[in-house]
Symmetry: C2
Subunit: 303 residues, 2 copies
């Protein structure tokens, strides 16, 4: 039988061992491996033997591996872009609904019906822009659609997005801000997306807008966001990511009643390898069959 030696480092996680073995792989040390599954940090990344043809990383965003100069062009690299999309899309929807339905306010202000009754807004009937509509957008679109929202997706390819009523290009962002009720950020962190939520885009959004960020902290200029929230330029922000993480204990965003911050748990580490395992198995089957792998990293695109 055709098999392939796979190293799982820095520790042999049980879910991944099972996935590798059931896909026809054999778990070995790095010095014997043709494949490395790396579930550690960039700082601990090992010297790669030439025999390693494919490195599988467990994260969707791997900018830290680029920054550290780890990703080379001598083998295939895969990230986990799209593998956790369902989970992250679900968290985005949870954050958006929590803000619109004022659950954050209700938790701290007991039965303050007068205040909450007048602040609750509905997702149904509203327009939601998903910025960066890859795997997460494709999972979020149908969820928002089922909730009665109109969905505008923004991506570079112009490809159709499930659930989206409309797909726009990044060059059209100005008109997207103006026509959206709410925004979900689902784009990778690149030079192009850095601070895409800034004083200008915040001013273009309606005053009832909620911004949800389940992507990467640097997409948002937090100083501009704080100002917009205090000035009532937008209604609220629900953030699973910040820049840096965690925010400082005395960060002004903590003090605002119209901010929800969850500690980067859209794809909780506690269940990560369990969610990653079936995708790793599928990619290993493809590797053995000589088929194209899922989620291959393209260094030119910088993510």
């Amino acid at each position: 039988m055709n098999t392939v030696p796979v190293a799982i480092e820095p520790n042999r996680d049980e879910h991944l061992v099972a996935a590798v073995e059931s896909a026809g792989g054999k778990v070995v040390g790095l010095d014997e491996a043709r494949v490395l599954v790396w579930i550690g940090l960039p700082a601990e990344f090992p010297e790669l033997p030439d025999a390693v043809e494919w490195v599988a990383l467990k994260s969707a965003g791997i900018e830290d591996f680029f920054t550290a100069g780890i990703v080379d062009d001598r083998r295939i690299w895969t990230n986990a872009s799209g593998f956790y999309a369902e989970n992250v899309a679900e968290h985005a929807l949870a954050l958006l609904l929590a803000g619109l339905r004022q659950i954050n306010t209700a938790v701290v202000r007991h039965w303050d019906k007068e205040r909450i009754d007048t602040s609750v807004r509905s997702l149904h009937g509203s327009t939601v822009a998903i910025i960066g509509a890859g795997g997460i957008g494709a999972s979020l679109g149908p969820r928002l659609k089922a909730c009665g929202a109109r969905v505008v997706a923004v991506n570079r390819s112009g490809r159709e997005v499930p659930g989206a009523d409309e797909v726009r290009r990044p060059s059209e962002l100005d008109s997207v801000w103006a026509s959206a009720d709410h925004v979900v950020l689902a784009a990778p962190a690149t030079a192009e997306t850095r601070h895409m939520i800034n004083a200008e885009s915040l001013a273009a959004l309606p005053s009832h807008a909620w911004i949800v960020n389940i992507a990467r902290g640097p997409l948002v200029d937090e100083e501009a966001l704080y100002k917009a929230l205090v000035d009532g330029e937008i209604a609220g922000a629900a953030l699973d990511v910040t820049d840096p993480e965690p925010p400082a204990d005395d960060h002004p965003l903590w003090s605002l009643p119209n901010v929800i911050i969850t500690p980067h748990v859209a794809n909780p580490a506690s269940g990560l390898t369990r969610e990653f395992a079936p995708w790793l198995g599928e990619n290993l089957r493809r590797f053995l069959a000589g088929d194209e792998l899922l989620s291959v990293v393209t260094p030119e695109r910088d993510y």
Copy 2:
């Protein structure tokens, strides 16, 4: 042109006046009316002239009008059952997701990643039971389905429910509790549904279960709920309704970290007549045409 005299009491709400007029009605005083649209409380309900053939109530649950002996069998009564279904279903989803994704915890425990990361659960892949699958259930089913949940609906009719993988009868509730991950209560308050969430049903649910109540407070035995939450028999409860409302300031449920209480805002009063207006217009058109009205009250069923 055929027209009908309609009283809108105790105040002539602008959204309802517009709806009545555009549907071919004429707004008049109660002494001239064939139709009464009542948007006040039961306590203020007026003596009805014999000429009133139809009373339109603005609430979905009208048990207080029954208790006060207001609903008679000398004319047609309609409630607003199903008219606010989208809004209420949305709130139910918001409460369920907020609990599962630990947004309540994140709001009060800043970046407590260790605690939150291990407590976050996913809606996708779970089984949700909707108890009392009328209009709200029909709106909630497709939302849950789009979120990747399996949906079990429980109703008396056995009628299919949109989005539901399975429809069960109230007599089968024991097996429903045992197979559900989470429960949404969407049943009317009747003698039959009173305290349907009690020590027994709570014991039958799995320890990771969240219970959402967007129906009526008396469906839940709050003493049993408190005990189950403290003992870890279920994971949490998200309540938009309580018994009585509001709960006392020192009610023990306020003290629990795994309880979310919103102040009966699934269908916020601030936007109620705006949401009610198009349905009232539709019913008035039906009344004029001699067609069957939507949401006619059946006193024998006690709701």
